[in-house]
């Protein structure tokens, strides 16, 4: 019997099988941010275990609240900063060089096909877009990862999603993943790896694949995985060009990390998405999804474009296409958070920031801030936000607030209309 990509990665990283079905894996990367890591650091210090397994395999960033908004967040930053210095963790991204972790770390070339990656952040599944097994963990798993370079997982069961057809114009990876979650529910992939394949995934950019994998956790998935291909090689080429004689050689090597044709799946789900419409959430769970058409006219107070789901250059370009020469509704606050300094800079060079500025958006530094109601765009009681983020839990962006998840195109069009609406880029029915 053949193996899935996740099974191959597990077998290649096996350190111990202490109990039936439990795999302790060696880790290629441990990513850290300032919200969940300081507690791990303090616990390690208190236990007299203030060590790291390998400083070159630990990457750290301040991204959730940045710059510090108060003394508590300043303390969190300080703990992380001093720990990184103490242990010679060179890849530490402090204010000015910092961006949203799941956008920043791939951009810095820290992800490879076949890697095992953990982070104390549920959206770590994003990095599966590169053919890696990347999973969000809690602080204790993070602590052991930092200390020992290992993490325990159940042997992965996989659901394969075959995405067929061609997406209509104006329909994006965000619409695809919202649709998939609506089909299988927020509990539909719990304890499973979600493998995304088929012509629609093949045609996607790395940025779109990251959007797709980012929301695997919203269906309960441990990781969302795409097969590495030439698109993956092209994205990583500047980081790997000294490791391989040619892009073809890199591709050949990367293709160790694809599932065998006779691999076992728990389920194979096929969707032809040729007629998919732009989608939007309507409740307090990411599986409550409708076509935008059916939510047309829903009033909004704020529009947020950013986050680890949709704060990348591709997303900003799409939104700018719609916003160019337009003003957002006077009743709406528009907030743009480019996900990394590089994205910010590119958007500036391309004139995208000017378009957002002229449309009436407030442009913040790269941060996770508004997405989880920690800073930079918190909602008041009863307010509604059209957001390109990944979670619409009750009160997510602020107590009593409501979040509707959507693509950057839908968010930009809705900002102009002052209510939820389809984008002019959508050329469907």
């Amino acid at each position: 019997m053949g193996k899935t990509i996740a099974e191959k990665i597990f077998d290649a990283h096996l350190v111990d099988k202490p109990y039936e079905g439990v795999y302790v894996l060696s880790l290629d990367m441990v990513f850290c941010h300032e919200i969940t890591t300081p507690v791990a650091i303090m616990d390690l210090v208190n236990r007299g275990l203030d060590r790291v397994f390998d400083p070159t395999k630990i990457k750290a960033v301040i991204d959730h609240v940045t710059p510090a908004k108060d003394s508590k967040t300043a303390t969190q930053h300080k703990i992380l900063r001093e720990w990184a210095r103490r242990h010679n963790i060179k890849d530490f991204f402090d204010v000015g060089r910092n961006g949203v972790c799941h956008a920043l770390f791939p951009e810095q070339g820290f992800v490879r096909p076949g890697y095992t990656i953990i982070m104390g952040d549920s959206h770590t599944c994003t990095h599966g877009a590169f053919g890696a097994f990347a999973a969000g963990v809690g602080t204790t798993d993070l602590e052991v990862g930092i200390l020992k370079g290992v993490c325990a997982f159940k042997y992965p069961k996989t659901i394969k999603f075959v995405l067929k057809g061609k997406l209509p114009e104006g329909v994006y990876a965000k619409d695809v993943i919202l649709y998939i979650i609506s089909q299988i529910s927020v509990n539909g992939a719990t304890d499973h790896v979600m493998e995304f394949t088929g012509p629609i995934v093949d045609a996607m950019s790395m940025e779109s694949r990251m959007t797709l994998s980012n929301m695997a956790i919203e269906a309960g998935g441990t990781s969302g995985i795409c097969y590495p291909d030439m698109t993956t090689v092209e994205y990583l080429w500047k980081f790997i060009q000294n490791d391989y004689p040619s892009k073809e050689a890199a591709l050949k090597d990367f293709q160790k990390w694809v599932s065998d044709p006779d691999a076992h799946y728990e389920k194979v789900l096929e969707y032809d998405l040729s007629d998919l419409e732009p989608m939007v959430t309507y409740g307090y769970k990411p599986d409550l999804v409708k076509p935008v058409r059916e939510m047309e006219g829903t009033p909004i107070d704020q529009v947020y474009i950013g986050s680890c789901t949709n704060g990348r250059l591709e997303d900003l370009r799409i939104a700018a296409q719609i916003l160019k020469g337009k003003k957002i509704a006077p009743t709406v606050r528009g907030i743009l958070s480019p996900a990394t300094p590089e994205i910010y800079f590119q958007a500036m060079e391309e004139g995208i920031l000017k378009i957002f500025y002229e449309a009436g958006f407030s442009i913040t530094n790269p941060t996770c801030g508004a997405c989880l109601g920690m800073s930079n765009g918190v909602l008041a009681e009863g307010e509604v936000c059209a957001a390109t983020t990944n979670r619409n839990f009750y009160g997510r962006m602020g107590k009593g607030g409501t979040v509707h998840l959507m693509s950057p195109a839908t968010a930009a069009a809705s900002a102009i209309a002052g209510k939820i609406t389809n984008s002019p880029l959508y050329r469907g029915k």
């Binding site: 350190v15 104390g120 509990n187 309960g220």
Partner: protein
């Protein structure tokens, strides 16, 4: 090893997420104890008031997919500092469940039919749960009614409970 027994809090809803268990704005706290007053503050469940309903409870019985959403271990910690060491549900979100065992807490999964039966028989009554690891058994008692349920605990989870958590286990083995 920890004492898992105590009075039951019934949360009759599926998909109770980590933002409901502890909102993100409190993640700037760097001690577990500081989370205590905010536990389940944003829970969307009719008739539930954390200030009134959490007091004296040690066990939660709920429906499916408890703890979905964020990886924040602050969610089980918020329960822990309120004296709740056990959650019984149809199933859990993976990270939340692992966080529970990693911290020496107990996440018990029972079939949907059993959870349905427990809600039917005990919800709304002052219910006491006696929970043992060996044998893996729950005894629920309320108003003279007494029922025993067995559950399955994996070898790894049992080892984590016995080691008081994953850091202790890993320090010994790796």
């Amino acid at each position: 090893m920890r004492q898992f027994d105590g009075e039951v809090l019934f949360l009759d809803r599926s998909d109770i997420n980590t933002d409901e268990i502890i909102p993100a704005k409190y993640l700037t706290e760097i001690t577990k104890e500081a989370l205590k007053p905010y536990c389940l503050e944003d829970l969307k469940l009719e008739g539930f008031d954390p200030k009134r309903d959490l007091a004296g409870k040690s066990v939660i019985v709920t429906r499916a997919n408890f703890g979905c959403g964020s990886s924040r271990e602050h969610a089980p910690w918020a329960l822990e500092v309120n004296g709740i060491y056990t959650v019984i549900a149809e199933n859990f979100a993976r990270i939340f469940r692992q966080n529970m065992f990693n911290g020496g807490m107990l996440a018990i999964e029972l079939p949907k039919e059993t959870i349905d039966e427990i809600f039917r028989e005990f919800k709304g009554k002052k219910t006491y749960a006696k929970i043992s690891i060996d044998p893996a058994e729950i005894i629920l008692e309320a108003e003279g009614k007494k029922k025993t349920y067995s559950y399955t605990l994996g070898g790894f989870e049992k080892a984590l409970i016995e080691a008081g958590g994953w850091v202790g286990y890993a320090e010994k083995h790796y």
